[in-house]
Every structure is written in C-alpha cells, then in structure tokens.
Amino acid sequence: MSSTKIFLKSSDDKTFEIDETAARASETLKNIIDGGCLDGVIPLPNVSSNILPKVIEYCKKHGGDNGSSKKIANGGVDKDKEILPDYDEEEDKREKVRVDELKKWEEEYMDFDQQVLYDLMLAANYLHIKGLLDLTVEKAASMIRGRTPDQIRENFNINSDFTPEEEEEMILIEDEWDDEWAFD
C-alpha cells in the first residue's frame, strides 16, 4: 500500500496532511480517493480546524480498517455481526492483546469535553468513519444509560419545556410501568 499524502482543507481554510492509508479509514475520503478526483486538496466544508486534527489522529490509529475490526473496544454493541463466530484460541489471544491496547488508547483519546464530542460525532458521521462514530455515540449513550431524566437533562443541558400538567400526565403513565421511577 502506498503512503501517498493527502491534503484536507478544513471549513476555516486550514490545510492538513494525512497518509492515504489513514485517510481510507473514512468511507467518504476512500470514495474520493478511489474515484480518482484527487487533484490537490480535499475540501471538508463541515469540519473545522479545531476538530480535524483529532479526526486525523483517529484515522492514523485505525489506518485502513475503517473501524470494522471484529471487536470494537468501546464496550458497546458491535453492529457488524459476524456470521461465522471465531474460536481460534491463538488468534483470540492476539486479538485480546490488540483490543486491550486499543481500549487504552481509546480511553486517552476520548478524554475531552462535551463540545468536542458533538463536533467529533458530526465529523465522523459526515466522513463516514464508522469506528469513530461508534466510539463517540457510545460515550453519549453512557451518559444516558441508567440515569434519571433529571440527571440526563443536567448532563446535556436539556430544558424541560413541558407544562406542569403534561409532566404530571407523564408521571402517571410512567408510574404504570414502574413504581420506583418518577420525576423528582
């Protein structure tokens, strides 16, 4: 595989360099490269220079595999269902080492504030980087899972715009499902 350099231009006109192999982690970039319309710089009007280096960092790590490796180390559900389960012990061991290492890397990589999370999510979505989208989406999901509505609202700055009457109605409905849960 060649290590041709690709140039990406952010929405605020800054240019970044990335290896072609790394760029292929993005389905969108891969299609542009394979489509042969590679004359100079690829403009990315939806990705700012704040977030693009972070995206490139991810692509470098996952160069080419497009995040579709068998086991995604983000604790979430791997959507790529393997039709044939693998039970090779040797390979499993190697895979485990690889996954552990990746998990550690992801932990460090994902240490940022919420605004970056949204930008990264949107960039991953736009560039079709499945692994990165899974990772960011899982982080958001983990902030909802098992939380009360008030906790969730606080986590994401969501304003409840229901009238008191509407809230009361919802409490009634929810109570039927489960006694333990209610609005505070």
């Binding site: 979430g76 559900v77 039709i83 044939l84 389960p85 039970y87 090779d88 012990e89 040797e90 504030d113 919420q114 605004q115 949204y118 999510m121 949107l122 979505n125 989208l133 899974d134 989406v137 899982e138 958001a140 999901a141 909802i144 899972r145 098992g146 939380r147 509505p149 969730i152 609202r153 994401f156 700055n157 969501i158 304003n159 409840s160 715009d161 229901f162 809230e167 919802m170 929810e174 039927e176 499902w177 489960d178 849960w181 609005f183």
Partner: protein, 443 residues
C-alpha cells in the same frame, strides 16, 4: 469565559436523526423509551427506533413481572412508528401465547428482519403468523413447538437458530427447504426426530448439538465451519454396530463435508461412531478418494487414545486433509489400557511414509501423560516437518498433587522424541499456566 457560556448549550437535542438513532439503539429499551420525558424535542425521538430489544435489562427495571413486561412491550409497539427491523425477547418471564401471537402478527406487518424469541422458562406453540414474516433474515427460537404451518417460504433467511424446539406434523427438512439462502444454522437439542438430513446449498456454518442417531449431509458444498457435539451413543456402541449395515459411518457423515475448512467434533462418541465397521489398519488407504482439501483446522475432543479404531479415524481425518495447519486434540480417559495396538498402528503409518506436511500447530488438551497419548505425540513429532509449536496441556484431574509432577514428566519424555521439524517449540501447561518453554538447544 467563552467555555462557560458554551457549556450551557443543548446540542444533543438537535443532532441529526441518524446519530440520535445510533445513540438510542445503544441504550436498554427502557432507557430509550424514557427519554421521551426529557423535553418536547425528545418526546418522539425513540419511536422510530428500528431495533427493539426486550431482554435482561428489564428484569430489574420491571422486576421481571409478567404483567408489567407484557404491558411495556404492548405500549412500545403501540407508540412505535416505522419499520421494526429487529425484535428480541429474551430471558424474561414468559408471556402468554396470545401475547406472542399478537406481537408477531404486528411485526409481520412491519417488515421484521431479525426475530429472536429466547425464553428458557416457557413452552409455547409458534403462532402461524410467524410464517408470514417473509422478510426475515435472522430467526432464533427456543423452547417452543413448530406445528405444521401453512405453505410458506423464508426467502431471505440467512441465519436460523433453534434451541429445544420440537417439530410436530412437519419436519426440520421441510423448514430448511423453505430457506433457500440459509448460511448459518444452529441446532441445539431439537426434538421430534433423530435422523437429520441437512440439505442447504448455501450453508456455510453449522453448529449441531443434541441426540441424533444419524446425520446426513446432502448438497452442502459451501459448508466451511462445522461444530458437532452429539451424544449419540456413549453407552451402546453395540446397538450401532447392528444398526448401520454396510455403508461406513465415516463415508456417510464425512462424505458430505468435503468443503469444510474448520471442523470441530466435540462429542465423546463421534470418533467411535465413525469407526464403526472399519478395520483400523487398512483404513487410511481404503478411503483414498475422500479428501478434505480445504480443511485447515481440526479439533477433536475426547479421543480415546488406547482404542486403535478411534485413533485410526483421527489419523484418517488428519491424513485426508493435506493442507491441515492446526490440530487440537484432547484425550478422554485415564484408563491406561494396553499401548500395543496403537503403537503398532502408528508404526505402520510411519512405514507407509505418512507425513503431515502443512501441520504447524498442535495442541494436546487434557493430556494425562498415558503411554498411548505419548506414543501419539511421538508419532506426530516424527511426521510434521512444518511444525512450529506443540502445546501440551497436562491434566491429572482431581489429583492436584500429581499435577506439577505430571507436566515435568510429560515434558521430559516428549523432549526426548525425535522431531523432524527443526523449528518446533514444545510447551507444556498446567491448565493455562505455562511451566517450561522451548527446548534449551533452541535458545
């Protein structure tokens, strides 16, 4: 300053639909549904979720109370809009037949593609509306009864898993013949028949467990991975002798598996079953025409090393797979029966110039350090020029005191065996803990 201001912005509520769907899909169903109370924007976000999974996550939330769960599922289905691609009910207290009937009926009109009903505590009859879910791609059922359905076809079904399912009035073969694209099949303890014929031209993966008297592969050219764990005949091998006339079991079963790449035979009796009616010594040449050119990985469990008929079937399998790379074998007995017949058999193989040229990795599990086992290891080391690693897992069962002694005994002995591969490493484990590594000459 700027940071503080930005932090108060609610950006999650305005994320694109597909991202929101990703997030909600990752939540337990009850958490996803509960987001409807967050704000007006969230009220209907979950209702178009394409995957509805009702599983153990509800056990705590709804205390696994039957009525609550039924009510919850009902309400989710009532409020849901759009296609439901996946519906799963598992590990929950069993709903009534009428509930299941109603849900499947609803799903069949909503383009259901993946249906998983796995309720180990229940026993119900599959409602006939299941057969009108004609877009099904994946179907997993357990603890239920299939009764003669109306005419149907699962045109898109690729994966089928049946566990503790009983057939009445129609056969498993009828079912499979209605699934022309079937690629993955798992059968666990199905009831109602003991002779199994598998005719599935697209089948790639098969996992078979249960009681069968006979298994016949017919038209399965793509079958690449096969896992068989059947407790056919542990106790009454004699009955088998009489039951299987002239065709050898070996040809009958394995004849349909010539395309297999990864074969796992996990049951105690299967090699014995395959050995029925064959004369050990002649075997390897007698079935010359049956070759497994695609077999790369072979796993055999519970091999009785002192039984020369069983060993000859194992040898036969290995010999018939010229491209075999990995072999995993585990012993079955601590009975130290006579080693002579096996030794004789193995020596004969060597005389015949037998060589497993591609075999790279051998794992001997549950090794008890018995003579016949060691003879087998000795033989393997002498016919595997490409061997890279031989791992031996010592197992002295309950006798913990003997264990560490056992490994060193095995290792010491094995190290003395001549090896035709110059790069072969030998390791001996006590269960999973490594004891000694590589011959010293190699360091």
């Amino acid at each position: 300053m700027k940071r503080g201001r930005i932090r108060k912005v609610d950006r999650i509520s305005d994320l694109p639909l597909n991202i929101m769907e990703h997030i909600l899909t990752r939540l337990p169903i009850r958490d996803a549904v509960r987001t409807s109370v967050l704000s007006k924007k969230w009220k209907y976000k979950w209702v178009s979720l394409p995957e509805l999974v009702f599983d153990y996550s509800l056990q705590d939330a709804l205390q696994n109370v039957h009525d609550k769960i039924v009510k919850f599922v009902d309400r989710v289905l009532l409020l849901h809009r759009g296609p439901i691609c996946k519906f799963e009910l598992s590990d929950l207290s069993s709903p009534s037949l009428s509930d299941i009937h109603q849900w499947i009926s609803f799903l069949s009109r909503n383009g259901i593609k993946e249906l998983i009903l796995s309720m180990p505590c229940s026993w119900y009859e599959i409602p006939s509306c299941l057969f009108s879910c004609d877009r099904l791609n994946l179907l997993e059922l357990s603890h239920c009864l299939f009764r003669c359905p109306p005419k149907f076809e699962f045109k898109h079904l690729k994966s089928l898993s049946l566990c503790q399912v009983e057939f009445a009035g129609f056969t498993f073969e009828d079912l499979v013949s209605s699934c022309p694209l079937l690629e993955t099949l798992t059968l666990m303890w199905v009831r109602g028949f003991t002779n199994l014929t598998i005719e599935a031209p697209k089948l790639k993966y098969l996992n078979l467990r249960g009681h069968f008297k006979d298994v016949h592969f017919k038209n399965t050219p793509l079958l690449a991975r096969v896992e068989i764990d059947l407790d056919w005949f542990d106790s009454n091998v004699d009955a088998l002798h009489s039951g299987h006339g002239e065709t050898s079991n070996l040809i009958k079963i394995l004849g349909g598996l010539v395309g297999v790449e990864d074969l796992y035979m996990a049951s105690v009796g299967i090699l014995k079953f395959l050995a029925v009616g064959i004369v050990p010594k002649i075997l390897p040449n007698a079935f010359h025409h049956l070759k497994f050119y695609h077999l790369k990985k072979l796993r055999l469990t519970s091999v009785a090393f002192h039984d020369s008929a069983v060993v000859s079937v194992a040898l036969y399998l290995i010999r018939s797979a010229p491209y075999l790379q990995k072999l995993e074998i585990s012993g079955s007995t601590r009975v130290d029966a006579g080693v002579e017949p096996v030794k004789e058999l193995l020596e004969l193989q060597e005389c015949l110039g037998c060589s497993f040229n591609q075999l790279q990795i051998v794992t001997m599990k549950c090794s008890f350090g018995l003579r016949p086992e060691l003879e087998f290891i000795k033989f393997l080391l002498s016919v595997t020029p490409a061997l890279e690693k031989m791992s031996i897992h010592a197992d002295s069962k309950d006798d913990t005191q003997c264990r560490s002694k056992l490994e060193s005994t095995i290792l010491e002995e094995v190290m003395r065996f001549p090896r035709v591969s110059s790069k072969a490493e030998i390791e001996c484990f006590e269960h999973l803990q490594i004891v000694e590594y590589r011959p010293s000459s190699w360091m």
